[in-house]
Symmetry: C2
Subunit: 368 residues, 2 copies
């Protein structure tokens, strides 16, 4: 049988998925997880106002969403104190990263990131034929000096920085991020992934109104706002940058109930405040469980905690495997030496009790 | 100010939107439409079971959707009597068309479609640097012989056919579509857009189990199932073809409530049957309104009716403008001679009463 041939680029790509979903693992193990702590979802859930808005929109789901996303952009503009023309809304940060790479990265164009940083960004770079250059983490932080040097060395068009960082939970203060951006050549765009910014300490986010022109900031309703399943992310940048998305994006890609939910969530900042308290308490509990088991939790500005298992990646992987077998869904960094850690998303007390109960056996079995 | 430069391809693209949304027009005119009959949405709405499933999923929206879309694929496999590996699910047909073009179309690769057919497909072809070759409609039908000849002439990698057709509502019988596919060179993939297949007469859809290997069929929950705002489309094709999507797509692009709604809708075939009756009745009403105003309705296999206004495109455009000014959102074909028509989506009795009341004045004002 003869089939039409994909482009040489697509033909060369592996059939990889950046992340295997917990449902896939549940089907493989034949049982649901007891605790879902692997995807940095927000188990505390969205605001009841977001849920109500989504439910009200369900019966209007026969209508396409407004492709200009006017209402949400206006609300975001008011929330952040900038113009609505400085936003582009997309199908989660994943979707926006795909569009962004498509806009800026042609075959062979250089892109810089950290070795072990967000694999979905790397997936998009490979998918558009870019050449990825990676620098190692330094003391479990993305290494700003090394990233700058690599950008200069490779004449990169994009450099990716997650602040706070995933998968380690570490962060840089705002002034260091601004200095990093200002030191880049103006031909290089900083992709500042701020998926976890809402849970970070004050002083981590550069002021929105002072975003340097060579920076595009990625935000999401998936984490602190608890709407991962609604697929609403947004980017903040110069109108000249964010307007490029309109040339290529799926203008009708956003779900109407998802947009309604995001608007409802944004308008309930009280609920967000309660979520942030719950996240902080949960981070403390995870750290306590780690310490009680003789492990070192890393300080975290995110809705998860990386726990140093104290040995190598093979050991941490055995710990992780045992946790999964015991019904606790967690993930871990991919690259040494960060892969000495496992990564635990914040959870309810019930979730963390499952983790607490499973961890000692996981450590014992990993030793043997 | 120096900014990072988009790729030469993206820099060359216009900042176009394939369709201006009705909300944009409502903001411009300062008032909501009385009848929303321009986007071929299904005003009869989704099944109450789909709405209930979506509402139940709203409080689970903190979880990402299963990136394998296992439940919906299994249900589609059972519904259509084929394997779940013959499906790929995406963010509406628009999203799937974008991925498909990306997979197969490199810079300068030839693609064939009809002049006046779905502009979003053309948008994606331009967006990936393909070269679009168009053939005219013949008697308001997409011209299978001309499409075949153009494929052979240009060595096209893709050929687009919407059956039933949008914007004219015409259709080809299944055996003609199968013969068309079989006559294509095996290096050319037929993109068979079946967005409107549910409202077509028996004998329009080739048997699903006998889809030729060089055909990918696009289906959607946006039309007959009434879930345009949920963004759930799917493609049916050989596993070898549909598996290519996994190399490049946004694996976490689907909303969880949207997938739940689609599953609920698929499982309520009784409701679909009632929708199809309502669509048929509405088509008749639209035809009667046209005839009563001395205009010719085209026979339709879709959830809309193209009405021949009897003069040229400029006249039809004046009719359309007046309808819009009177609060009736409709659209029209872009290309002569099909642009002598206006296109009216099926509506409730109340919707169609607005149209009926507005049309005489629209015709009078268009004459002057």
């Amino acid at each position: 049988m003869t089939y039409p041939k994909p482009t040489p680029l697509v033909a060369s790509l592996p059939a990889t998925v950046p992340f295997v979903g917990p449902e896939t693992q549940e089907r493989a193990r034949g049982a649901a997880f007891n605790a879902r702590l692997g995807a940095n979802e927000n188990v505390f859930g969205p605001s009841p106002k977001a849920v109500a808005a989504m439910q009200a929109a369900a019966s209007e789901a026969w209508m396409y969403a407004d492709p200009e996303h006017h209402a949400l952009k206006q609300a975001l503009g008011a929330h952040h104190g900038i113009g609505s023309d400085e936003f582009v809304i997309g199908e989660g940060i994943d979707g926006l990263l795909g569009y962004l790479v498509r806009i800026y990265v042609g075959h062979g164009d250089a892109v810089v990131t950290s070795d072990g940083a967000y694999p979905t960004f790397n997936y998009h770079v490979a998918g558009f034929g870019g050449t990825l250059h990676k620098v190692p983490y330094k003391d479990d932080h993305e290494d700003l000096a090394a990233l700058t040097a690599k950008v200069l060395e490779t004449n990169a068009k994009l450099v990716y920085l997650s602040n706070p960082d995933n998968p380690m939970g570490t962060w840089h203060p705002a002034q260091d991020v601004v200095a990093f951006a200002q030191n880049l050549p103006p031909t290089c765009l900083l992709v500042l992934d701020e998926a976890y910014i809402d849970t970070a300490p004050a002083g981590t986010a550069p002021a929105i109104g002072e975003t340097p022109p060579n920076v595009i900031r990625m935000r999401t309703f998936s984490k602190a706002y608890g709407l991962a399943g609604a697929r609403v992310g947004y980017a903040i940048g110069a109108p000249r940058v964010v307007s490029e998305f309109a040339k290529i994006k799926n203008h009708f890609g956003m779900s109407r109930p998802g947009l309604a939910a995001a608007l409802g969530a944004l308008q309930d900042q009280d609920y967000l405040g309660k979520t942030l308290e719950a996240v902080e308490n949960s981070r403390k509990s995870i750290a306590e469980i780690a310490t009680a088991n003789g492990l070192q939790p890393l300080a975290s500005a995110t809705n998860f905690v990386a726990i140093d298992c104290g040995q190598d990646g093979a050991f941490a992987k055995r710990v992780l495997q045992s946790l999964i077998e015991q019904g606790v869904f967690v993930r871990m960094p991919f690259v040494a030496p960060q892969d000495r850690c496992i990564r635990i998303s914040c959870g309810t007390d019930a979730d963390l009790l499952h983790f607490k109960n499973a961890l000692p056996h996981a450590l014992t079995s990993a030793q043997s």
